[in-house]
Symmetry: D3
Subunit: 237 residues, 6 copies
């Protein structure tokens, strides 16, 4: 029995609230149960220096947690004077995943910056971020076409992500904090809408895991991501 | 005529949504029109080193803007590696104001940290922050009494804040961004529920202003803050 | 009775020593009793990037305290690797005040940087800094005219500043450290030579204060600043 | 045909030179072809603050590249004033993997710090680092037993790592820089000597990859890691 | 002929003004011609962590230049967020020299921090700093004896410093900025009152120099330092 | 008797291994006994901004110690977020010395960056660095001529460095760590192949030293450096 009383392959209620704030070209509040992340997409003409003159665009991402999005207060990274390793790792992951969803040539020399700020954390903030960021990205691309900044749709495929794990020896999907903190293995999977792999990251927290368990977790992830992509599409409809 | 089409002494719709997030001991979303700030109060036993052994508590505050809470994206302070001067100035102001509302002795050797994070900015984020933080503080103090951390109520008086200014030669209250950016003078006023002054900060943005204008702005502020304190009290009822 | 044995409206001996150091275009040692601040004005052709192409100049300021300008040694900010919140707040205040004294268009695309370094502190370092910086600024503008960098005088009015407060329930002017550290209320006022307001910042250190007390402090400040502006003018004569 | 002229499942010559430097408790130069990393293990009594009083030890890791270990010179992170995101990500990966190889209880309240410094880079520095660090760790544990710091061997299993990828549509193992920079997919796999998974990280650099390709890459990795663990054991014999 | 019109072995007018500021236990304004440095010595009970429990004291130093102490304005190190290499090098030199003048055992577990802040620079700021710091140190030690913090005089010998160089092929002493910037060789010498060497640092700016030239410069330095030590002693009399 | 059992004027075995790594234009492992430093020279077209348009090149240097190159582990400077004072001092010394060996005009607008990374430390790392860096520099200059980047040889003279000191009252050369840590005086000398002085830095660690002792140490240094330059030349032959 999961602490969340969900079945092993049952995800939490997932919602995407578009136009959540008014300034950003894409602004989505994504909720996976109690995990809530504000994902904004900001469009800017031009690209960073290292990309100049290649006729291609750029997609980047930054991630942060509000200090009291968690059970106990975390120090504010701006006050500490640097982003921690976990933050860096997550924002690199988000950016890489979104770049893999976009044809940078079709984007022209424009930059889209995705900000994922965790309002409330209850496990799975990085995968919720990626799933929400994809919706914000779509809105930003729609804005760009409306403004004549691009002529074709650079989106190659929708992407979504889920965390899966081994809990009490059984594979489960979409771990809440209480499940995550006790899981033996934690795996984040990012897939396209056609079921291909963008990124897989599986880590043994305690005991190493078997190739069998890996396969079971991947299968759960595939199923859950199909559900999430359906919800994304409904939100965008 | 104000760009906002409000009368000179008319504040925007003000709301305080308590228990906005689930982890913090006090969590309030304050809205002044389109300005939205999440104010959380975190309670911790113990005090910072410089306060130890005095039998008194401590109240501190941090302030941040989400990168895309504004018209164009601001760099993330955590990524830049330091908080800017404006941020520092505002969080020092918030903390000072809240300390002036609390009897630190009655708080015992406990610390309350207020985080004010701007979700959406449309002028007056610092005064909205202070007004919302006061409500979050009250909730945190209630939590502490319920937990037996304190025996009496350390709150000496509710406080609230408003920005007032001179726009086209006329004093107006609760400036939106578009008004603020064109105002000749900008003043932030923090008062207690009994109409006494916690802090007054008036700055000539362009032309110096007269003592008469100062008096008119103060009078507007007094009136607006009375309204805000009423709304705070209804929210807390 | 004030600890300083001065009457409530009596300022300390104030002096401005021009050409205190030899390299800066304006260099003034300002003394308010035992508070001594070296204010230098450095002229540079060109403006910072965000001001380029507007045909306007820029005035900025930095503030620092020598580590042992105070009773006990303060850590050196350069060694700590960042400027503290108080320093940031003060240098922003000084810069804002001086910009309000100058017609930036008349300055052309030139930058004046004011450095205020506290040699010895005994209360009122920020208001002494502003009063001294104005004299250094005048000298720098004179230098620029002599060099043909500008054709008209960009100075719109002399400015000066004073700190006033409530001590033992009575309003007093120009607080020394010992008075400042025990005051209930502390207010910094910056006025033009014509008695208009550039900036007012009043803070309740302990008890909130009344609108009456505010008025009394402002009246004291007005009187003291008139005296300081006279001394500035004599120094410049 | 691979640019390296190796067969798809052929790893480069792998060597572990123990006692490469004289001060560290474990010191191993690991070479995967032209990739050369110095891995040192430093033993210290005591644990970091957050681990105190749990009767457990700690294993941590840091990673760095010498500025000219690469084709063109990289800026020195110490001079830039911070470690980049890639560095952080890699050193977190190394530390996590080694902790999964060790019984922290059997380590007692001692800390082992692994430093992996890349002398020469030609692809696969992170997986070479992990493979070399495991050998250095074994030497450090032997030292600790000899000194009486521990009574049992905390090592639960040898671990080793390899990078595999899809190159020209075909899965290959142990990518050199020239292969890595053109690969469609890049995956790092860390296994125990018993063939269980410690960590799997697969990333689509260009095109998303299929579950089939994932399986093929995993199978290559399994085979290569078995070879590397044999070489580790010979080196330790 | 030297640009300064001085003879090769003629130092500039040197003065030490004691009790230059009121808070520090030792406070000396040292002037070597137009070079002016404020040297303060701050006494604190206790020693830094790495010195604890050895029954010895500690002497350390920090150095800074006011931004406009120089011909053109230097960026403020506190604002840049770090001390430059030159600053670090100089403050390490000052501290080392002063520690060599003091019997740290006789100092007890107390710390003296010397701050050397350059008010006006015209060459030789580091050697003026050391010469002035020694006088401030003596005053601080006198204070400590008066307060009963120490029973004997920890000073082993007065020290002073001078810069010498090769200018137009000829050795000269006490270089002003204009001489320094054109010198072929620059050497800083720190001696005790008994003519023994504390530190010698000679650098070829352009052409390497000969052992003969080294000897001539050392001989000039010896002579100049004797003069400076006389002036120090008069100041302390 | 020296702890190293060497005679006072006997240097350790000195070797220079060229082409130690494959990417750098010059790459030399220098060994002075157990002290091992990897010196790489990286060639880049162009010069830093402050050198632009002068028709001259630039030579700069950076220095670092691997965390466990020493007896006990040193914190990694990249992780601490800044280079320490000792590191800064040493890299400034190395750069200055190499620039004194090169005709910057003959170098054209090109930059050579020397990285000296200590693999294993046993005293004299800075002087070994300089001696090794000179060999790497020669290789980089040869590379530049071969590539047609320069037409003449900018090297004016080979340089080498040695540390000498007073140990038990007697002057000795090339101090190992155990000697260095107990020496009364420590002096670093950098000479050209023609025996002229590039830099001399002598520091009294405990007792001040005499002019006689200085002369004896210099004489030892002269002799040792002649030996080292012979070995450099053999390595380059």
């Amino acid at each position: 029995m999961r602490p969340s009383e969900r079945t092993p392959n049952q995800i939490r209620p997932v919602t995407f609230t578009r136009q959540y704030t008014m300034h950003a070209e894409g602004s989505v509040l994504v909720e996976f149960g109690n995990t809530k992340v504000l994902c904004t997409a900001s469009v800017e003409a031009g690209v960073p220096r290292f990309m100049k003159g290649q006729g291609k665009g750029w997609v980047t991402a930054e991630y942060g947690m509000l200090p009291r999005s968690t059970h106990t207060r975390n120090n504010r990274e701006a006050a500490r004077g640097k982003q921690g390793g976990r933050t860096m790792e997550i924002q690199r992951l988000i950016a890489r995943a979104l770049r893999a969803a976009v044809d940078l040539k079709a984007l022209g020399e424009n930059t889209i910056t995705i900000d994922c700020d965790v309002i409330q954390a209850d496990g799975g903030t990085r995968t919720a971020s990626i799933s929400g960021a994809c919706v914000a990205l779509v809105d930003a691309l729609t804005y760009m076409r409306a403004k004549g900044m691009i002529n074709t749709n650079p989106l190659q495929h929708m992407i979504a992500a889920i965390s899966v794990g081994i809990f009490n020896g059984e594979p489960i999907t979409d771990l809440e904090y209480i499940e995550d903190s006790q899981a033996e293995t934690d795996m984040n999977v990012i897939l396209t809408e056609t079921g291909k792999i963008i990124e897989v990251q599986g880590t043994a927290e305690g005991e190493p895991f078997s190739f069998d368990e890996l396969e079971q977790m991947l299968s759960l992830a595939k199923h859950s991501i199909r559900e999430i992509i359906d919800i994304q599409k409904q939100a965008l409809a």
